[in-house]
């Protein structure tokens, strides 16, 4: 009998805000000196009070709307009580039974993954242990730069059934969050943290197996590998007559395996209760509708539209990035050809990350089509245009770039190439059509500006 993999995802996302969730402290960048973005509020000093950050609430509502969630009329914050040195107040302000939003879904193209809830909470600080391992450390230090940084927690239903699907889900979430401007969602910077809950069961079984929760995953690749490893581990355990223990497991990137962190057998009692320092929020429906109207086109919708006139491979790249998709659509709107523009973006723009304006791209595509520049020249023009902000036409004029299309000049060049490559010429005449490539390569070397189409025709004519 086959095993069925069941995965639900908990994803923590840091919304794009200037300040922390409940105080005015700015958000620290990576590697900033410890405890430099702190105040009496996020340090949990006696007497301080939390005031919710409106920008974080807005980002959460936008995310919820983009995930097709319902926004209940009433929502509130709750305290999750537990003591740990990285938690300055001895409780985390989170949301328990009345989250900001419920019951949505994320469209993965071929199917929908149900979203159980999206809620807001605050991040904890960071412990730094002197020595590499906690149990060996003689001293531990607390850095509270991250304490109180806003987090949205996006919880899916257990609708994912493979490592591939889980990775696709997380990547699509990132695309969506970036598209709506709710988060930069950079996994390396800890702005998006995915925690899969994994269990397996016999195919056809209705009951869920015992699940484990994976933590410390900091890339999509690690997410994929960790799930593969964990599914395999659970399968081996069950097939050898053992059992899966409900627990939290960490992903060890160096050893490429998961390890037990915390057993859930003695589940901690968080003693949730409503946060008395923050009155329940009654979200203004008009404001929510305003946010809904202001949402940009969602990536799934845009992708569907792009698929009308572009192949899937191109859409996968262009549709996955709001900037690229915007660039493509502006250039095409200015008359650039669809396929050529899409290919140019996939091959020249996406890998370099150097984004021209749609207008400049349309102009460049036009110059290419007219044969005014070669492809190699166009690449240089593209880079220079992005760097200097000048138009491609200006750059072409200045460099004197323009293709050599004059037949009499090209004929002299073609004759020289044939003379210099007697073997290739003979091969071609003898029927080896691919020998033409060597001749063209030599010609491009002698005259990069040569119009390849005209040159190719001349060579064919001379060799006939």
């Amino acid at each position: 009998m086959d095993w069925e993999v069941v995965i639900g995802m908990e994803v923590h996302v840091q919304p794009k805000t200037r300040s922390k969730m409940f105080c005015g402290c700015s958000i620290a960048g990576l590697n900033e000196p410890p405890n430099t973005h702190v105040c009496e509020i996020c340090l949990g000093m006696p007497g301080v009070l939390p005031v919710p950050n409106k920008a974080a609430v807005e980002a959460c509502i936008k995310t919820a709307l983009a995930l097709n969630c319902e926004i209940p009329r009433h929502t509130k914050f709750d305290r999750k009580n537990y003591m740990y040195p990285d938690l300055p107040k001895g409780y985390q302000i989170s949301q328990y039974d009345l989250p900001m939003s419920v019951n949505g879904y994320l469209d993965l193209g071929e199917r929908k993954v149900r979203i159980r809830r999206v809620h807001l909470e605050e991040d904890t600080g960071k412990l730094v242990h002197a020595g590499d391992k906690l149990h060996k450390a003689r001293e531990s230090y607390v850095d509270l730069n991250r304490a109180g940084v806003p987090l949205m927690e996006i919880v899916s239903e257990p609708d994912l059934h493979s490592a591939d699907e889980a990775r696709d889900y997380a990547m699509e979430l990132r695309t969506l969050l970036r598209a709506i401007g709710a988060s930069e969602a950079d996994m390396e910077k800890g702005q998006l943290r995915a925690e899969p809950n994994i269990s397996i069961r016999r195919a056809g079984s209705k009951e869920l197996g015992v699940k484990t929760e994976l933590k410390n995953i900091n890339s999509f690749r690690a997410l994929h590998r960790a799930i593969l490893y964990e599914v395999d581990r659970q399968q081996q355990a069950l097939e050898s007559g053992g059992a899966v223990v409900q627990e939290t497991r960490g992903w060890d990137e160096t050893e490429q395996r998961t390890f037990s962190q915390r057993s859930k057998e003695f589940a901690e009692d968080y003693r949730y209760f409503p946060e008395p320092d923050i009155p329940p929020l009654e979200l203004d429906r008009a404001w929510i509708e305003e946010l809904r109207r202001a949402l940009p086109e969602l990536p799934s919708v845009r992708r569907a539209r792009l698929l009308d006139h572009l192949p899937a491979a191109q859409v996968a790249v262009i549709g996955g990035d709001r900037d690229l998709a915007d660039l493509y659509e502006t250039a095409v709107a200015k008359g650039a050809p669809t396929m050529a523009t899409a290919n140019w973006i996939v091959n020249e723009v996406a890998p370099t990350g150097k984004l021209p304006s749609g207008e400049h791209l349309a102009e460049l595509m036009d110059l290419l089509q007219q044969g005014a520049v070669t492809r190699d020249q166009a690449k240089e023009v593209h880079l220079e245009s992005v760097e200097t902000g000048r138009t491609p036409a200006e750059i072409v004029a200045e460099h004197g770039y323009s293709q050599l299309s004059d037949e009499s000049e090209l004929r002299v060049l073609a004759e020289a190439v044939i003379d210099a490559n007697p073997k290739a010429a003979a091969d071609y005449r003898g029927g080896k059509k691919q020998a033409m490539q060597a001749l063209m390569a030599d010609l491009r070397k002698r005259a990069p500006q040569a119009n390849p189409k005209v040159a190719n025709e001349l060579l064919l004519k001379l060799l006939a």
């Binding site: 006696p46 009070l49 001895g90």
Partner: protein
């Protein structure tokens, strides 16, 4: 005018003399410091003094008075309860766990009084984390009632009430979670006011029970309490539970007298279990005076009163168990760093730093919030709280304000209730309803029973501080019972 005369003034009188130039703020400070030196060794109202603040603030007040742009409280000497954070001034909530803690910021209410020109004399004693009704739970020493040094001043703001009663401060700030301003005010014969929940920002108040705590004034006249309240209140962007109601509205019409007002006497309060005959007699006399002044006295009922105490002693400890979790020895205050691991460090720090009553309430609250007990305790208590609010809503359909005794008893001897927490909890039975319902309430002196002060409590509807103050002021005027400065001496003890 003698030095002692200066310690008996009200804000109105002192301000007039200051503006006339008859006295200076420095004179006021000196008079109070002399008074403190004479009586505080008996009363023990203060935990610590703030000469660096009073020197600077008095000098500034005198300068501005000379310039003619004196703010409303310029030069007025105040005392601050040890739960209100003042930048750079050791603030410990009466607890060893915060020994040495100097807040890096000043809370909103205190900051507003400072801006209004007040001069801080020092920090007053209180029950640890404001948990108690006698100030005997202070981890330092008990404060004594200036009327009888063998008796408690009430609590938890006992230090503030005693300081005002003994002429050791013109005004003091207290906090009221279940009666902690009104009850000590009653026992010390002064005026104490708890505002509507949300009227005064709690920013800077070391929390006991966040949904019940309010900061308020203790004073020797209703006018003084009203002035201070009007200056402390108003929206604070640092407190999401603070209201944007106009702060000056507390003074609306408050001198209009009680003629034509309907004052409700809840039978559950009037006949409360354990009420002393002398207290009842004083209240009867007060009702008579109010009727003479033109008020109509009507019967009302608060049927869920009996459940209030139980609900309060679930909600308040539940919130306290969470609020006090931050005292873990990691960031400030007492820290038992030699513990072998973090759990031990927590346990040792908290065992050593918290007193018995605090530990009891942390445990009660933790239990009430635990999985499996939450519905039976915390949730049920919240439902009772809603019923109690409704009781008041119903009562206020029949009357403009509610009057009762503040405390069923007068000040009791030190040690009388320390072995029986439940009897101590019963001290709050007439006051905690106002906290559960978030209503404004005041206690004003209404005579004595066996030589000890009795307090009259006036409760008003939400945001009805002006109504409460109006009744209290009319009573104060009609009864001619101004708070008097007690002259404590060890000889006065009646054992």
């Amino acid at each position: 005018m003698t030095s002692d005369d200066l310690t008996q003034l009200t804000i109105t009188d002192a301000s007039r003399l200051l503006r006339l130039g008859s006295i200076s703020s420095a004179d006021l400070v000196t008079a109070h410091v002399e008074r403190i030196e004479r009586v505080d060794k008996h009363v023990k109202a203060y935990l610590r003094f703030t000469p660096e603040l009073w020197e600077k603030q008095a000098e500034e007040a005198d300068r501005r008075i000379r310039q003619g742009d004196a703010p409303p409280l310029a030069g007025i000497p105040i005392a601050v309860k040890d739960v209100l954070c003042v930048r750079g001034v050791e603030t410990t909530a009466g607890s060893q766990i915060l020994r040495g803690f100097k807040p890096p910021y000043t809370g909103t209410a205190v900051a507003r009084l400072f801006e209004a020109g007040a001069v801080m004399l020092g920090v007053t004693n209180c029950d640890e984390f404001a948990m108690g009704s006698s100030t005997e739970n202070s981890s330092y020493f008990p404060t004594r009632n200036p009327w009888d040094l063998q008796r408690v001043p009430g609590g938890s703001s006992g230090g503030s009430a005693a300081a005002v009663a003994a002429g050791e401060a013109m005004i003091a700030l207290g906090t009221d979670t279940g009666g902690s301003i009104r009850q000590p005010a009653a026992l010390c014969g002064v005026v104490g006011m708890k505002p509507t929940y949300g009227r005064v920002s709690r920013y800077g108040l070391i929390a006991f029970a966040s949904s019940l705590d309010q900061i308020g004034p203790l004073a020797r006249s209703v006018d003084d309490a009203a002035i201070v309240l009007s200056l402390m209140g108003g929206l604070d962007p640092l407190d999401a539970t603070s209201s944007d109601r106009p702060r000056m509205e507390v003074l609306n019409n408050f001198g209009a007298g009680v003629k034509g007002m309907r004052l409700g006497v809840p039978r559950e309060y009037y006949d409360v279990k354990g009420v002393e005959p002398g207290v009842k007699a004083a209240i009867d006399a007060a009702l008579f005076i109010l009727r003479q002044a033109g008020a109509e006295i009507v019967d009302v009922s608060l049927p869920h009163t009996d459940y209030g105490l139980a609900a309060y002693y679930i909600i308040a400890p539940a919130e306290c168990s969470s609020n006090l979790a931050r005292f873990d020895g990691v960031k400030y205050g007492l820290s038992e760093v030699d513990a072998p691991n973090i759990t031990e460090e927590y346990q040792q720090t908290r065992r050593k730093g918290f007193g018995t009553e605090v530990r009891r309430r942390v445990m009660l609250g933790t239990y009430a919030l635990s999985s499996g007990y939450y519905d039976a305790y915390y949730l049920k208590a919240q439902k009772v709280r809603t019923l109690i609010k409704r009781d008041f809503d119903e009562a206020f359909k029949k009357c403009d304000a509610i009057v009762s005794a503040t405390s069923p008893t007068v000040a009791f001897p030190i040690g009388a209730k320390t072995q029986d927490p439940l009897s101590m909890y019963l001290c709050d039975v007439l006051t905690l309803g106002g906290n559960l319902a978030g209503l404004p309430g005041i206690s004003v002196p209404c005579g004595t029973s066996d030589g000890l002060p009795v307090g009259l409590q006036v409760l008003g509807p939400q945001w009805g501080e002006n109504v409460v103050l109006r009744v209290a002021r009319a009573y104060e005027e009609a009864s001619e019972l101004k708070a008097v400065v007690a002259d404590p001496s060890p000889l006065q003890g009646r054992g």
